[in-house]
Amino acid sequence: MSFINYSSREINCKIVYYGPGLCGKTTNLQFIYTKTNPDLKGKMISLATETERTLFFDFLPLALGQIRGFKTRFHLYTVPGQVFYDASRKLILKGVDGVVFVADSQIERMEANLESMDNLKINLREQGYELEKIPFVVQYNKRDLPNAAPLDEMRRLLNPLGVPDFEASATTGEGVFETLKAAAKGVLTDLKKLGR
């Protein structure tokens, strides 16, 4: 849930990066962190295991600028992708304003992508959200790898709703900011609708 503070004239929104294990959610946030002006970002927090797998979440606060005199802040979270961390994923989805689904383009990860997408729908529903109704963006990550599945096929399987989607390579940063912008735009557009 976004938090509008009229006293400090701030608006805070939460975007969650979801997807199967090792699809590149943390890498997305790391790229955003390294490429953002230090004045606009806070510290990035990663609660990870010793082998750098996300244990609970990564967190990156970003200030995007002002809209109508209100400072716009986005809190970006990733979930742990590994199947057995489902309880943690549910907790992180609480209060979400927008979701980015990071898909792993490698053909052998297609089943993991589908499983994670189903898991997202189930977990959102448990929190009282419908994927169809919240700002949602899909990213096809690792497009640079030779074993990447055809884009059309991925679209058909992972984006039947036709939400904004992007090809990306999070390690080089390709598509990372485009994805973030689309998600942030979705959240703000939603806010505009609610304000009416």
């Binding site: 849930m1 976004s2 938090f3 509008i4 503070n5 009229y6 006293s7 400090s8 608006i11 805070n12 939460k14 806070g42 510290k43 927090i45 609660l47 609970f56 979440f57 967190f59 606060p61 995007l64 600028g65 809209i67 109508r68 005199g69 209100f70 716009t72 809190h75 309880a87 943690s88 549910k90 907790l91 992180i92 609480k94 209060g95 009282g128 912008k181 942030a184 735009k185 703000l188 557009t189 806010l191 505009k192 609708k193 609610l194 304000g195 009416r196």
Partner: protein
């Protein structure tokens, strides 16, 4: 947790700030923070310089969420009070009215007993304020932002301008 968007007006904010400023004094605390369950900082008081408050808010919410999950596993609804003891500084974390988290940072100028006592009173006052905020949000038109929300007037250009780097 707020089921609707949390909208805080100046008067609510000042009441909350008044409560936590008093709590800092009464409990001899170093600092007090109010965080919503989604990890956003609502208010702060006391010696907060040098503390990364945004991270504190997000991690506190994560911790409350995780222990809340643990509570349910063993059949409890929640663990509403948490105490973390450090070498110098300690953290006392309380869930207020199941919606917001009250975090008190204190050192040996205070004691756990005193903090606990003062937090109880401050928590009850704060619960009242948040109850009123909730009622206000419920009586507002759908969306919770209320009439005259600045966001109703946002244009696509406003949104695009945020990204014009």
């Amino acid at each position: 947790m707020f089921d609707t968007q949390l909208v805080m007006y100046d008067e609510d904010y000042r009441r909350i700030l008044g409560i936590i400023q008093r709590l800092v004094r009464d409990a001899n605390a170093k600092g007090v923070f109010v965080v919503d369950k989604n990890g956003q900082l609502i208010a702060e008081a006391g010696e907060v310089r040098g503390i990364d408050t945004t991270s504190l808010a997000s991690l506190t919410a994560g911790s409350i969420a995780a222990t809340g999950g643990l509570a349910k596993i063993i059949g409890e609804e929640d663990f509403p009070v948490h105490f973390h003891q450090g070498e110098r500084d300690n953290l006392h974390i309380t869930l207020v009215a199941k919606r917001v988290i009250l975090v008190v940072v204190f050192d040996d100028r205070s004691s756990l007993g005193l903090v606990r006592l003062r937090v109880k009173k401050a928590g009850a006052e704060m619960a009242k304020v948040f109850d009123e905020i909730r009622k206000k949000a419920e009586s507002a038109p759908p969306g919770g932002a209320g009439s005259g929300s600045p966001f109703a007037e946002i244009t696509d250009d406003d949104i695009d301008n945020l990204f014009s780097d």
